[in-house]
């Protein structure tokens, strides 16, 4: 067979694509943009710090009985990067791991409160729920502390030049600051920061 006939077939075969399942914990360096590994690393570092902090072991409150664990409200992480980042994914991941750790108690945030409001109004107003089983407002726990923070990035790009060996370089630095503040006093009880640096070099024919 002449190579002229073989070439289109080769082109088709080589331009293949594939889909497969992979380990969600695997590191990801598809692009330099914020990704799953950054989410896992930043959240993991903060959980480690929160769990090991002795300042966050217990807090007295007249309303508490024997369980003196801190009741936490998870607030927002402000995105001050230039990327569109769903920062609630960070707080959700942190809350999941902290809840599993058993160190803290949590109260529902906005989404949960809206659901609770709808449900209580339904129970009390629909006439479909037994009166002895109706839930009512005014019995929720009050949070001791709020967890909130900021995600920032510093980005730098360098175009290709002879000096750089015709490679384009990009550097992104992420700083994630999280703090726990006492709602009564406004005092910051705990604060930590996690940092990440990612660099990318791109030559004429792709990433190096």
């Amino acid at each position: 067979m002449k190579l002229t006939r073989l070439a289109p077939a080769l082109l088709l075969l080589s331009a293949c694509s594939s889909v497969r399942y992979d380990d969600p914990g695997k590191t990801e360096t598809l692009t330099i943009d914020y990704g799953s590994t950054d989410l896992q690393t930043l959240a993991g570092d903060m959980v480690e710090s929160l769990v090991s902090s002795p300042a966050l072991n217990y807090l007295e409150n007249p309303g508490k009985t024997e369980d003196k664990r801190i009741i936490m409200y998870v607030g927002d992480v402000e995105n001050r990067t230039s990327e569109h980042i769903d920062t609630q994914a960070i707080t959700d991941k942190i809350q999941t791991q902290l809840l599993k750790s058993g160190k803290f108690r949590f109260v529902a945030a906005d989404q949960g409160q809206a659901e609770i409001g709808d449900q209580v109004r339904f129970q009390q107003g629909s006439g479909r729920v037994r009166t002895d089983m109706m839930r009512e407002f005014g019995k929720q726990l009050g949070a001791d502390m709020i967890l909130y923070g900021t995600l920032r990035s510093i980005e730098k790009r360098k175009g290709s030049s002879v000096e750089s060996g015709l490679t384009r370089k990009q550097d992104v630095y992420y700083q994630f600051v999280l703090r726990a503040v006492n709602i009564d006093t406004g005092e910051i009880i705990w604060q930590d920061e996690a940092e990440l640096r990612k660099t990318s070099s791109q030559g004429l024919f792709g990433r190096i």
Binding site: A7, T27, V51
Partner: protein, 144 residues
């Protein structure tokens, strides 16, 4: 050098096919992984060497453990024996009293070491049930 049967369009097509092959069908590299287990709070470490090369390049040393606020805290150094820089990934799995892995998130942490450098890892067990841990080391094997 010119092949007698290859015309210019054919050579162009073959070249494109090769480039497309390089660009689109890169399969992930299979990387061997080494694990180091510490089933109890002692300092006896079990090693499962999947990659002798990785075991030569990275040594786990200065292992210390303690209980802090009821949780196992571990610290160890990962030292590079190579003179040149190296990238690798590490992951910790927490084990209960029976050696079962606890349902805690397991993600690979990318790390970079200068030649002969070391990285100190300090981690607190996410739950009080953890009584041991397993460290897994791997060559970089990212989704890229």
């Amino acid at each position: 050098m010119k092949h007698p049967e290859l015309s210019t369009p054919t050579r162009t097509l073959l070249g494109l096919a090769l480039l497309a092959g390089i660009g689109s069908c890169v399969t992930p590299r299979g990387t061997a992984q080494n694990t180091y287990s510490m089933p109890r709070e002692g300092v006896e470490v079990e090693q499962d060497i999947g990659s002798p090369g990785l075991a030569r390049d990275l040594v786990m040393e200065s292992i210390t453990t303690r209980r802090k606020d009821g949780r196992l805290q571990v610290a160890f150094d990962l030292r590079s024996t190579r003179a040149s820089d190296m990238a690798f990934e590490w992951s910790l799995i927490w084990l209960d009293d029976h050696g079962f892995p606890l349902p805690t998130p397991r993600n690979w942490n990318p790390a970079f070491l200068r030649g002969k450098g070391f990285l100190t890892v300090t981690r607190t067990a996410p739950t009080p049930e953890a009584t041991g841990f397993r460290l897994a080391l791997s060559r970089p094997d990212s989704v890229r």
